[in-house]
Amino acid sequence: MSVRSGRRIFWAVSLFLFLAGMVLSLLTGPVMTTPADLVRFLRAPDPVHAAIFVDLRLARAVLAFLVGAALALSGAILQGYFRNPMADPFVVGVSSGASLGAVTATLLGFEAAAFGFSGPGLFAFVSGLAIVSLVYVLSLRRGGFKVETLLLTGIAAGSLASALTSFLLFMRSDSYDRAVFWLLGSFQLAEWSQAAAIAPWVALGLAGSIWLARDMDLLALGDETAQALGSPVRRVRKVFLALSALLASLGVAVSGIIGFVGLVVPHWVRLLIGPSHRRLFAASALAGGTFLLYCDLLARNLLPAELPIGVITAAVGAPFFLYLLHKKR
């Protein structure tokens, strides 16, 4: 099988899975619906089915897809940024920072919604971006900036944010139930307003990263070589760090922390279609969105009570990841 036809198969299978996942999401839920109900609704819409299909299920599916795309793209960017396939939004502290913001807002009872985000969501978004800015400033040194310093600073800041979150929960254990949404992730509260709020930013993140994808390819050869080949490395690095922080913060802001997607999806995609970043970014977004769509299907249907989605992403992702890793060797 040639490399090119392998890529075609990847795109065809991903698109098929995406469409199938969308249809499945529309058909499953607490209210029994059949494909015939969906067809009937599409021919002659009625308010009851509109509420079920469009406002509940489609909104949730679209939101899950957008968040999956954002997280996988953020991970793909950071893996290229650090030249390390083990990087993900946790290593720069953005996930832990954002969840600290969300939990703080929850415990303070700050619930006012704005810009399509809930109060804690807005806090999550702002604190995710704030912690990455802080990490970046702390890792700047006289005479420049080293990627290794950024990585270590990010890990330290992330650990500190997690410790603060644990401390807050310990002090206010009565609020644990409300805070757990942010710590384990869920799409239970999905609304169209959230999807509408993050969609333009996800599109911007995708467009920006594809615009600079060739620069990211050059970074794999080392910063000096990349610059010698013509890439404005410092500026490129700033843009990519900002984009990855933006995308990961958005994800936490609407659905809480969802691990594993940002780490594993770009890794799978690289194994399947190669390291070239223009393809990798687009394919990671599609695969990440599709992956989270199916994980959400499992989260809400596997047991009578809904499971946190972070549990599903790891439980499904890890074995598949191991399979691919060993098959390729």
């Binding site: 620069d215 794999a220 080949l229």
Partner: protein, 263 residues
């Protein structure tokens, strides 16, 4: 006018100056080797010349323009750089790596043009890596990887090639292979070549001019016949050597004094 003019350049890292007051000119089509002990500033010079590290004093002009005003894209059209051999990350193919040399010649969202493909193919032909096109870098030997990186630099289509220790980590056969390739590029493609090199014999065999650095300043400069002397080597490297002419090329060679003697 010289293609590369280095004028009283001082540069280093993190506020520490490594090279001091270095002046040097490289003519079009010339092969210059920078020699010196570890830490003498060879790599620093190679990097400072193309504005990869900050300089504290002096000026570098390439093709008549100050390199600090050129920006990476325009500088890449004049100078191609091959760094010291490094472990590759991610599994790019040889073909993809060579095409990366065309970065500065394209718009960000453009597909590779016929001209880009032709330049990459020609570069791979010169370096004899066409057969490796679909291979991953991690599958190649050190000598093959180095040829791929030189192909990438050739695809860049710049008049000056800068190489940082192109022979390090290579066995003796690959070292000669790389230097013969560089000498051919100089003679047949009229490339100016400037290498930082630690192997004196290799540099003396292929370069037209040697520049010896000691403590960040130029300690000797000239053709191999004039600069590779026992006195210079003792002064610059602190090593006792005998000098003899290579039996085939007549170029000077060092052999360690004391080897073969009883202690």
């Amino acid at each position: 006018m010289s293609f590369l003019e280095i004028d009283r350049l001082s540069a280093g890292y993190d506020g520490r100056t490594v090279i001091h007051d270095v002046s040097l000119a490289v003519e079009p089509g010339e092969f210059v080797a920078i020699l010196g002990r570890n830490g003498s500033g060879k790599s620093t010079l190679i990097k400072a010349v193309q504005n990869l590290i900050g300089r504290s004093a002096g000026r570098v002009r390439c093709g008549g323009e100050d390199v600090s005003g050129l920006g990476p894209r325009r500088l890449a059209a004049r100078i191609a750089y091959v760094s010291q051999l490094a472990e590759p990350v991610f599994e790019y193919t040889v073909g993809e790596i060579v095409l990366m040399g065309r970065f500065a010649r394209q718009g960000r969202l453009e597909r590779f043009s016929a001209e880009d493909e032709a330049a990459a193919a020609e570069a791979m032909r010169w370096t004899d890596v066409e057969a490796l096109r679909g291979q991953r870098l991690s599958q190649l030997s050190g000598g093959e990887s180095q040829r791929v990186f030189i192909a990438r630099a050739l695809a860049q289509d710049a008049p000056l090639l800068l190489l940082d220790e192109p022979s390090s980590h290579l066995d003796i056969a690959y070292q000669v292979e790389i230097y013969r390739l560089l000498a051919r590029l100089q003679k047949e493609r009229a490339k100016a070549v400037m290498v930082a090199e630690h192997n004196i014999n290799l540099a003396a065999a292929y370069a037209g001019r040697l520049v010896f650095l000691a403590g960040g300043t130029i300690a000797a400069e000239g053709p191999p016949e004039e600069t590779v002397t026992a006195g210079n080597i003792r002064r610059i490297f602190g090593a006792d050597v005998d000098i003899r002419a290579n039996s085939r090329s007549g170029r000077p060679e060092v052999s360690l004094a004391g080897v073969g003697e009883k202690p």
